[in-house]
Symmetry: C2
Subunit: 164 residues, 2 copies
DNA sequence: GCTGAAATAATTAACAC
DNA sequence: GTGTTAATTATTTCAGC
């Protein structure tokens, strides 16, 4: 199921638009030797297929007042209340990602705060009341890099041997 | 320094464009009662200030053939070689984020793989040779949510007491 | 599923406050 | 510096192949 019948034009478009959502579609069109309307229709199709899930501007958290970035592993006193806890986490705007994980933690979140003091406030006042049995905080000093996944050119079954 | 003199129009624009990089600027312009050119100039200014760091399309990893998502905490045998390790990690396209962290790990990465087997191949063949003394892998089953940070309406110094 | 043309929008430049 | 209008280029829609 993995590739959902993406042809080479779909993949070329994805590679061209992935890192710049405001790229002129006519520029993509010229690179692909098709009309701008064709690019538009393909991108509509990729949206409808769920391959594309919208777009976003990348905002520098520090420049809008968030100096602290942390990842937290959480364990719940009542792991069966996972969904309710996710709903509560959604109400905390500083929590920007939430994952259901295997391993040592029940869930794993990414959180920004204005400063370390603000992070401690959030943990004490908003997270602890959710019923945590344990939590671990990893503070990110610096993001060394952040980027998109590559669009695979090959069928998926070839990839497993790619690293051997 | 945090807000870099963002005025209320800058913040309104950021809120409107954050979650949809392809929103028509004229729609933003009408919401803000200014011309489209003014929105364009403001967004240019936000780019020049470094508040905006470009844009991207959100691509569903599963739909392009990546079934496994993991976070890994890494410890280096030679932590002073951090920069060289970052350079090597950049060469592994499946590694999409890399952070310098406090706490139990020297660094923390986000990694996608075609499947669990492929992840193990990457860890064994590409990560272990970098000189890891220890690593811990957290596999994400499911992303419960992922979103942008809120644009603060208030000066930063007010926020610390916001949660008390 | 593509093209080409028409309508709406983005971008650029010249200029006003 | 921040906004405007007007000209050029791009996006979007749609009829037709």
């Amino acid at each position: 199921m993995a590739h959902h019948n993406l042809d080479s034009l779909d993949k070329k478009i994805l590679k061209l638009i992935a890192e710049d959502a405001r790229i002129p579609f006519l520029e993509v069109a010229r690179s692909c030797n098709v009309s701008g309307a064709a690019i538009h229709q393909r991108i509509q199709k990729l949206n409808n297929m769920g391959v594309l899930k919208g777009s976003k501007f990348i905002i520098d958290p520090e420049k809008i007042g968030y100096e602290t970035c942390a990842y937290m592993g959480l364990n719940l006193k009542n792991p069966e209340k996972f969904d309710a806890v996710v709903d509560e986490l959604k109400k905390i705007p500083e929590v920007v990602e939430c994952h259901y994980t295997t391993g040592d933690y029940d869930m794993f979140i990414k959180i920004y705060a204005v400063n370390n003091h603000h992070l401690l406030n959030i943990i004490h006042d908003r997270l602890q009341p959710l019923g945590l049995s344990r939590s671990e905080t990893i503070i990110s000093f610096n993001s060394a890099f952040s980027r998109q996944l590559p669009i695979l050119d090959m069928p998926v079954d070839d990839v497993e041997t790619d690293e051997d």
